[in-house]
């Protein structure tokens, strides 16, 4: 954890010129952010290294055919020369690193003449659209359910919400998605004679989004609801809440100003992992609903051993996740003044 409570070791490893920066909160925040960004560099480096090594450990070459006529040696040599696979592995790795620094992720093996970057840029918007809509759904619904369950603890609302959360957390999203397709696409289509149903495939800015977004959001909603409920229960029992009630504040004021403000702090920290989930969840959801997003293209790349595409997507995912976690850590400092920065 980069953010912990307690006294910091201020300026322990800093040159004296910078030490004055740590005296102010803003200064220590700036240093914290810079350090976290710098820490991303080795993380991404190792992600590239591990993925790169894995691909070169792979038995066979990407030009092997599963059955059928194999390519002749001349063709394979030409392909290797074209994609730079004839160079020593260390040189390939170095070249890849240099290229990544220039945002050049190489050429895809499966689509002749297309760069990985251009392929990612065509599929990315679909994933972002569904991810953003899900994100906007997860926060209010998850938090709302959690607060409601906590305020009416041990009531029917509480039991139903927590029962739902347990189910949603256990049923994998591809199972939920498939079952929803059966219910809302197939059976509903058959029952209404094709007049009313939700589409099970494709992408459009309309009812095509309903099933994918619900499928993607269900698990994060369940987690958010559970966490919000637990932290709200903690907050409700604090003295300052009793004071707020005793002062005769309205329920709305107590809940919004006093309870929510404090119980949402731990929820913020889960937004990073939620983001990571939306990124990987898209692999499943896009396959399930035939959406031409980055998750789908990742699976296709894996099936056809398109190494530059796999590598590029993995790097992109890991950078996004690292950035999301960084953003959460920084946001946390702003939200909770009790937090001190270390490391």
């Amino acid at each position: 954890m980069a953010v912990i409570a307690g006294r910091p070791k201020r300026g322990a490893l800093l040159p004296s010129r910078l030490a004055s920066l740590t005296d102010s909160r803003a200064g220590s925040l700036a240093i914290f952010i810079v350090r976290r960004i710098l820490w991303m560099v080795p993380v991404v480096f190792f992600v590239i290294l591990i993925t790169f090594v894995l691909m070169h450990l792979a038995p066979g070459s990407p030009w092997d055919k599963n059955g059928g006529r194999q390519l002749s040696q001349t063709v394979v040599n030409n392909l290797n020369a074209r994609y730079g696979l004839n160079k020593p592995v260390t040189e390939q790795f170095w070249l890849y690193l240099v290229n990544v620094l220039h945002f050049d992720f190489g050429l895809s093996y499966q689509y002749e003449g297309k760069t990985v970057a251009s392929l990612i840029m065509t599929s990315w918007p679909y994933t972002v659209a569904i991810g953003v809509i899900s994100f906007l759904l997860i926060i209010p619904v998850g938090v709302g359910l959690g607060v409601l369950a906590a305020l009416r603890q041990n009531s029917r609302v509480d039991y139903i919400t927590m029962g739902f959360a347990t189910f949603a957390a256990s049923f994998p999203n591809f199972v939920v998605g498939a079952l929803m397709v059966v219910a809302f696409s197939v059976l509903m289509y058959k029952a209404t004679g094709g007049n009313f149903f939700l589409p099970a495939a494709g992408f459009g800015p309309d009812d095509h989004l309903v099933l994918p977004v619900i499928t993607l959001s269900l698990l994060p909603i369940a987690f958010t609801a559970r966490l919000t409920r637990a932290s709200t229960l903690d907050t409700i029992r604090q003295d300052f809440i009793r004071t707020a009630w005793a002062k005769g504040l309205s329920e709305r004021l107590v809940v919004v100003r006093h309870i929510l403000k404090n119980s949402l702090i731990p929820v913020v920290t889960t937004l990073g992992p939620t983001f990571a989930f939306l990124v990987t969840g898209s692999v499943i959801v896009e396959t399930l609903f035939s959406i031409p997003g980055i998750g789908r293209s990742f699976v296709v790349a894996i099936e056809s051993r398109d190494y530059p595409m796999i590598l590029g997507t993995t790097v992109l995912f890991s950078v996004i996740i690292a950035l999301a976690n960084l953003a959460v850590d920084v946001a946390y400092v702003f939200i909770d003044p009790r937090v001190r920065l270390t490391e």
Binding site: V44, A58, A178, T287, I302
Partner: protein, 304 residues
């Protein structure tokens, strides 16, 4: 200081429970009182039984051969043409395939835990006990590891080494041990500072004995809970791989593969996706219930 005889008598007269209830008996009692956990355990036991008996039942013709195609009866609904749960797009018996599929799911779930338990324990104990450089290395390593989402890493490994049973088990184990190692480390770090460890150390316990006799048994509760929650996670990962088409290859019956096959023919034969989906969902739910029950039973302080 000697106690007066009367005081001793009074002490003896105190009502002492007949039987000393130990930690484990106590935990077992609490677990038994949790209805959902017991339900989950019963379902899992039932599933284990099915998984063990499936080949035998198929041998004696009580259930159909899971690979036998019956081309004249493809996509039969439940109960039709002698198929209790219907048949798939090749006329294979869904019930029999479900029963055989449970063998894959359960063995992935349990074997992966068996693989990662010694690894996670060894590394977690070493890092937590030794501290310093080993600890730092582990923590930095897990930082990097967490930058990869589990599913992506498993997908990459399986794509590279091909979808064999061994690769899939290995890949899932590879992403699962980190969490366990971190947990063990955390446990060891918090227990290490307790007085009884200091006492053991000052009375000359060797580090080896200290770890095996004190640190390990005292962190057993959370380890058991983590391993229990690891089972559904591994089952889920294997099912997703099969669903995405990069898992254990057909014609072997796996639940994820069955959802995938059923989903391709969802319009003409919706029941062939519903049954495997329900099987996966309720199996994972059962393990979650057991895990929740164990957590409440083994760590009374955690209870609300």
């Amino acid at each position: 200081m000697a106690l007066p005889a009367v005081a001793v008598e009074q002490l003896v007269d105190w009502e002492v429970p007949e039987k000393q209830i130990g930690l484990w008996a106590d935990a077992w009692q609490r677990f038994r009182r949790n209805r959902l956990a017991v339900l989950g355990a019963a379902l899992v036991l039932f599933l284990v039984l099915i998984a063990l008996l499936a080949p035998l039942l198929a041998q004696f013709g009580i259930i159909a051969n899971p690979l036998k195609q019956n081309v004249s009866n493809i996509e039969a609904g439940p109960g039709q043409a002698g198929f209790l749960l219907g048949s798939d797009q090749l006329g294979r018996d869904t019930l029999s395939r479900l029963m055989f599929g449970s063998r894959i799911s359960l063995s992935v779930g349990i074997l992966v835990q068996a693989i990662i338990l010694p690894i996670g324990l060894a590394i977690g104990l070493a890092a937590g006990y030794a501290g310093g450089r080993i600890d730092n290395l582990l923590m930095r390593f897990t930082d990097i590891w967490y930058a990869f989402p589990d599913l992506l890493f498993v997908l990459v490994v399986v794509s590279v080494f091909g979808p064999s049973l061994l690769t899939i088990f290995g890949a899932i184990a590879l992403v699962s041990w980190v969490g366990l190692a971190r947990l063990v480390r955390g446990q060891v770090l918090s227990i290490k500072e307790k007085e009884f460890i200091e006492a053991a150390r000052s009375s000359g316990s060797s580090p080896f004995k200290l770890i095996l006799k004190h640190l390990l048994p005292n962190s057993l509760g959370p380890i058991i809970v983590t391993v229990t929650f690891g089972i559904p996670n591994a089952i889920f990962l294997e099912a997703v791989l099969s669903f995405l088409g990069v898992g254990i290859q057909p014609p072997t019956a796996t639940w994820g593969q069955m959802v995938f096959d059923g989903y391709e023919n969802v319009y003409s034969n919706p029941s062939s996706v519903v049954f495997p989906a329900i099987a996966i969902g309720f199996t994972l739910l059962s393990f979650t219930f057991i895990g929740d029950g164990l957590r409440d039973a083994l760590d009374p302080r955690m209870r609300r």
